[in-house]
């Protein structure tokens, strides 16, 4: 099957790749661009481990075709920190022990960042519902919710 040529922007860098029409954006990120931060937990859009944003919109990259990235701006977990400075969410996740195995962490960070950009002052319930599409099997979510709330507080105070 002939491949499709795609030009896109990933974490601010212009990127080109060739992909099979059946390949998902997640496949492309992981297997063609070597950005393995996004994880495949289900391949059916149920677990959120592959969360990325496309033009600022939070999506499961396993439900998007690679070819759909044409002309878009993709943001992944690899682009959250600025140089050697971690994003407040990243710092708070480490401080609060909000990860155990860490497989869901990239997706949850991308989703939480997207939430705080829309709603800098979410309630606990709002955080829980926003993250309801991101499965974590280790933590029971308690420390994740606390880390997101704490990062939101810090970011509001800094702005």
């Amino acid at each position: 099957m002939s491949k499709i040529h795609v030009t896109t922007t990933v974490n601010g860098d212009e990127t080109e790749f060739l992909c099979d029409p059946r390949e998902t954006l997640l496949d492309v990120l992981r297997d063609r661009l070597n950005l393995t931060g996004a994880k495949e937990g289900c391949g059916t859009g149920d677990c959120g481990a592959c969360s990325v944003t496309i033009d600022g919109r939070l999506v499961c990259s396993c439900l998007v075709l690679g070819a759909e990235a044409e002309g878009k701006e993709i943001a992944t977990v690899e682009g959250i920190a600025e140089g050697d400075t971690l994003h407040p969410l990243q710092r708070k996740f480490i401080e609060h022990a909000a990860l155990q195995c860490g497989i869901c962490t990239p997706g949850i960070l991308v989703a939480a960042k997207s939430l705080l950009e829309k709603n800098p002052n979410p309630t606990e319930t709002e955080v829980r519902y926003w993250l309801a599409g991101n499965l974590c099997r280790c933590t029971g979510y308690d420390k994740i919710i606390r880390a997101v709330m704490d990062a939101a507080t810090e970011m509001r105070e800094a702005s």
Binding site: D20, R22, E23, R30, D31, N34, L35, T36, G37, A38, K39, E40, G41, C42, G43, T44, D46, C47, A49, T76, V77, E78, I80, A81, L86, L89, Q90, F93, I94, E95, H96, A97, L99, Q100, C101, G102, I103, C104, T105, L109, E124, V127, R128, Y129, L131, A132, G133, N134, L135, C136, R137, C138, T139, G140, Y141, D142, K143, I144, I145, R146
Partner: protein, 746 residues
């Protein structure tokens, strides 16, 4: 330091530093099972049986082999022959022989130059089946008319006259239960069932295998135990164990489900045939259909109680279905069932039953949560009937040091009474309930485990330390090891780097299971550090020209000690390591042994449930976990284990189940239908860490990983039953089951 000089004042242990792998895990750079690549790598795919039970008549691989890009196809013929015992069972499960034993059972595999091509090629492999009668329910599998799944599997323990699907039997206890029941003021006997659940780790099984015709290989995989993987893969492939080097990736959850092998031997077989590296990654649906869920159970429990709450006798029969292979953990179900209680008369019986389902694997305290559900439900019924307080009744009967355990021996130092007292005194227990809410409590017990353990601790010239351990880090154990090493050596936590070594660079290690890692690898790390300290003291003694025993180790320094030691400035670690090459050579400490003092574990959970009588939906407004950790090394990760165990238990109690159709096929093999708890389902989970030191660990540590999943099933069932006003006998307590129970109750 001897084991009996237990340390109780700590500088580093008990603090909450950042975990050493935190940065890698929040930036996406941590490498999990599916994140590895190799030059010339192929991609594998597995062909699986669509039938619950079928004889494999013929496998035609010719069309797949002819496809462009396909480099290897394997079937059972490509694996070793003549295996026996557990090796044979694992091989049968990894790749079917004559018969497919469950929906999803692997029958062939293919490797191709792309994942998409491998998937297409798998569809070209033609398998001819002769479908056989099947059974998936535990009670039906024991019935006289059940199809015989694997005749001759039963061992000598099974009483005569049982169906051949009953493959193992356990019976234990003491006293005279009939006499005990006769002394009771009230005897309640009831029956319970639980469905199989899955560990639900978010990372599917994944590996990258490379094996040559010379029998030398490399395997990268997500596993709880890479030495186990090494041993089993080598046996299944017919190669020498030491010729296969296995490296454990970062592991994206396991909970017991990654204590065995599934795809790893298949990837190695494909690699050997293609003479190229092969990557094999399971889909979620493969994980659910063809890895190891828990057993399903059917249980009868009978307990007698006096009016004052004293239990006079207890008896339980526990039937566990563990898939088409022996090994359902029914003996643990039986032995854990009544362990929280001091009983003069107790008897427990277990049956291991095979059925056409995947081979069960361990899941956090394997077998114990189901027992607690049945036993603690009956205790709750007795409390309701006799109008007794559930915590007081449990306190009255609680096991303590010296109690003869229901499974035989006497308990050493244990923390159940302390946990129950903490529950009684916790504000949650006395908080008022709202309309439609019920409160449940439950005790939980798990044995914990030691296991073969090797640790190597090497000093660098600058006085920093590298610790190599062999137990994959599932939940922050590298932080705990570094804390224990820094405590022992008296140097900062940041000066220690802990690595999970591969099978070629460290001695044998048992799997990360049995809540053993912080206990056993921790003990080994402490002992290895003590060995390095002894050598450093020796070097200092030589430098000072005084006897070795006139040097002691204090706050990271060698110092002269005793009347004849003389007066010398302390030598810091870095002073000793700086010239260690010239003073006797590199300094390392190591430990290789099987620690046998794991120390059993108890916990108590309190939960409030709100049941909507219109929809049957249950919500959990409040949850508190109380558990004995012995000594919490990194309290944040201890809390995390408590919370995670509770959350998994909530899923098991309310929602999660394997649903098999009449055709014997799994109906809900995706996360949308096998729905684990999401953030909006749960409340914050309060934790209380009780610390009754374990006499078998120098710092008093006892494992905390598993016990947290034992009480939730029962605690939630008790809360739901009280909220709904009707006793629930079957898990999960999904909305349809609750509505049915309400309707039956009128």
């Amino acid at each position: 330091m001897a084991l009996d000089d237990r340390k109780s004042d700590f500088t580093f242990v008990g603090t909450r530093p950042d975990r050493p792998d935190g940065l890698d895990k929040v930036t996406g750079r941590a490498k999990f099972g599916a994140d590895a690549v190799a030059p010339g790598m192929l991609f594998g795919a597995i062909v699986r049986s669509p039938h619950a039970h079928a004889r494999i008549v013929k496998i035609d691989t010719s069309k797949a082999e002819a496809m462009k890009g396909v480099k290897a196809v394997v079937t059972r013929a490509d694996f070793a022959t003549g295996l026996t015992g557990e090796f044979w069972n694992v091989q049968e499960n990894v790749m079917a022989g004559d018969t497919a034993l469950y929906d999803g059972h692997a029958v062939a595999a293919v490797a191709a130059t792309s994942a998409l091509d491998a998937r297409d090629a798998a569809k070209l492999i033609e398998v001819e089946y002769e479908v056989l009668p099947h059974v998936t329910d535990v009670d039906k599998a024991m019935a006289a008319d059940a199809p015989v799944i694997r005749d001759g599997t039963a061992d000598g323990s099974v009483p005569e006259g049982m169906h051949p699907n009953v493959v193992r039997y356990h019976e234990s206890g003491h006293g005279d239960v009939a006499a005990g029941f006769a002394e009771a003021d009230l005897v309640i006997e009831d029956s319970f069932k639980t469905e199989a659940t899955h560990q639900g780790y978010i990372e599917p099984h994944a590996c990258l295998a490379s094996l040559g015709a010379d029998g030398k290989g490399e395997l990268w995989c997500t596993t709880q135990g890479h030495w186990y993987a090494q041993k089993h893969c080598a046996a299944l492939l017919g190669i020498e164990t030491s010729q296969l080097r296995v490296t454990a990736s970062e592991i994206g959850g396991g909970f017991g489900g990654k204590t065995t092998v599934f795809i790893e031997p298949v990837a190695l077989a494909l690699s050997r045939k293609a003479n190229r590296p092969v990557k094999l990654v399971m889909s979620r649906s493969e994980v659910l259909r063809a890895t190891g869920p828990t057993s399903s159970t059917s249980m009868d429990v009978k307990i007698g109680m006096k009016k004052d709450g004293t239990i006079t006798a207890a008896e339980g029969v526990f039937r566990l279905q563990g898939g088409a292979f022996p090994g359902a953990p029914m003996e643990f179900t039986a032995m854990c069932a009544f362990a929280p209680y001091a009983l003069e008369n107790v008897r427990q019986v277990g049956y291991d039953v095979i059925a056409n389902r995947p081979k069960q694997a361990a899941y956090r305290a394997p077998g114990s949560p189901m027992a607690a559900f049945a036993v603690e439900s009956v205790i709750d019924l007795l409390c309701q009937e006799l109008d007794l307080d559930p915590v007081e009744v449990r306190l009255k009967n609680a096991s303590k040091k010296g109690t003869k355990a229901s499974y035989g021996p006497r308990f050493d130092d244990i923390g159940l009474v302390e946990c129950l007292e903490a529950a009684r005194d916790h504000p949650h227990y006395s908080a008022p309930l709202e309309q439609g809410q019920g409160r449940g409590i439950s005790c939980g017990f798990w044995f914990n485990h030691g296991g073969e353990t090797s640790v190597s601790l090497a000093l660098s010239e600058d006085g920093t330390v590298q610790v190599s351990v062999g137990t994959p880090d599932i939940g922050g154990s590298r932080a705990s090891m570094a804390l224990m090493a820094s405590e022992t050596l008296g140097i900062p936590y940041e000066n220690i780097r802990v690595t999970i070594a591969d099978t070629a660079t460290l001695g044998y290690n048992d799997v990360s299971h049995g809540s053993r890692v912080t206990y056993a690898s921790g003990l080994a790390t402490i002992k290895a550090a003590q060995a390095a300290i002894a050598e450093m003291c020796k070097r200092a003694a030589a430098k000072w020209g005084i006897p070795e025993d006139a040097v002691k180790w204090e706050d990271g320094c060698a110092v002269p000690s005793g009347p004849n030691a003389g007066d010398f400035e302390p030598l810091a670690m870095a002073d000793i390591t700086a010239d260690m090459g010239a003073t006797g050579g590199p300094i390392s400490g190591h430990f290789e042994a099987t620690p046998e003092g794991a120390g059993v574990s108890f916990g108590v959970h309190i939960v409030d449930a709100q049941v909507d009588p219109e929809t049957g939906k249950t919500s959990i407004p409040r949850y508190t976990v109380i558990q004995d950790a012995g000594k919490a090394v990194h309290p944040a990760y201890v809390e995390g284990q408590f919370q995670g165990g509770a959350a998994q238990g909530i899923g098991w109690a309310l929602n999660e189940e394997y649903i098999y159709g009449e055709d014997g096929r799994l109906q809900n093999a995706v996360f949308l239908d096998y729905r684990i708890p999401v953030a909006s389902d749960l409340p914050m989970i309060d934790t209380v860490i009780v610390e009754v030191p374990n006499p078998g660990h120098p710092y008093g540590v006892r494992g905390v990983g598993e016990t947290g999943i034992v009480p939730p099933l029962a605690a939630i069932a008790n809360a739901v039953s009280r909220a709904a006003g009707v006793r629930m006998h079957e898990l999960p307590m999904s909305p349809p089951r609750i509505l049915a129970a309400l309707k039956a109750d009128g």
